[in-house]
Symmetry: C2
Subunit: 136 residues, 2 copies
DNA sequence: GCTTTATGCTATGGGCCATAGCAATGATCA
DNA sequence: TGATCATTGCTATGGCCCATAGCATAAAGC
């Protein structure tokens, strides 16, 4: 069967992201985390007290969607909101959040290593810079 | 602001695919098409009479989700189902489907060219093979 | 002080994917 | 040939992620 779609980098990009995302989501799911959760934990660990808006901007999540997202993280005890002024609040990891992050890191690093191992050696170092150029 | 996520190819893959997908979806939307629609039209043009199951397998769409998908394409007059035997049917493009495909091709080829142009020259030829290795 | 902007929020819908289960047909094989 | 198995197309349903519109309050800017 002919597949002309295989010539399109954009199509390959979508399929690759879906395939990789499915694997990672499944593994993070065993920790009770989604991909966005793990990303948020990593970002908050590196930048404690980040604002909801700024965290959302970094993750590419809109303000409106940050609300239920952070609510869930807070309900599960990974995160707490600390008021900064009347309208702004800093998001901080709880001890439980940091503990879960440790587990998540293991999963993610294993996953990323496997991912890189899938691409032929001669293309390997080019993947990350090429991908970053597409959205950064 | 520190962003440790930028070291992860898997994360960059997801962000790049989302960014690219948003642009393509918007442009195809002006033609009344979604990404999966355009992919299906291209595949059906290259392989007339493809079965729903086989088309779904090629596109990475499950049987259950092919039903409303093909219903819509049929309702909009892009596709017709031709019974092969009692339980199998071949999907064929209609003239209207082929016409819309012509427009879609223009959009997609422009998009793909712009996408490739975004990646630095030294990484350009590595992108497609690297991505194909991640799911093919 | 008044206007403008930023922040966090509610409500809602779309697109895409996944699972479970079903009826009917075709294929396989004793 | 007849019984079993596999395939095909389908219904129903829910989850996840994203997008828009609109709102109240608070801070910043003039």
């Amino acid at each position: 069967m002919k597949d002309p779609l295989l010539e399109f980098p954009g199509y390959a990009l979508r399929r690759a992201a879906n395939a990789a995302g499915a694997i990672l989501s499944e593994r993070l799911g065993e920790l009770g985390l989604r991909q966005a959760d793990a990303s948020a934990l990593i970002l908050l660990d590196a930048n404690p007290g980040l604002t909801s808006s700024r965290l959302g901007a970094a993750l590419g999540i809109q303000r409106a969607n940050m609300v239920p997202f952070l609510n869930r993280l807070e309900t599960e005890g990974f995160v707490e909101r600390v008021p900064i002024d009347g309208r702004t609040q800093g998001i901080h990891l709880t001890d439980q959040g940091r503990a879960r992050l440790t587990d998540a890191r293991r999963v993610i690093e294993t996953f990323e290593a496997e991912l890189i191992a899938m691409v032929p050696r001669e293309h390997r170092t080019h993947l990350l810079p090429a991908l970053l150029a597409l959205w950064k």
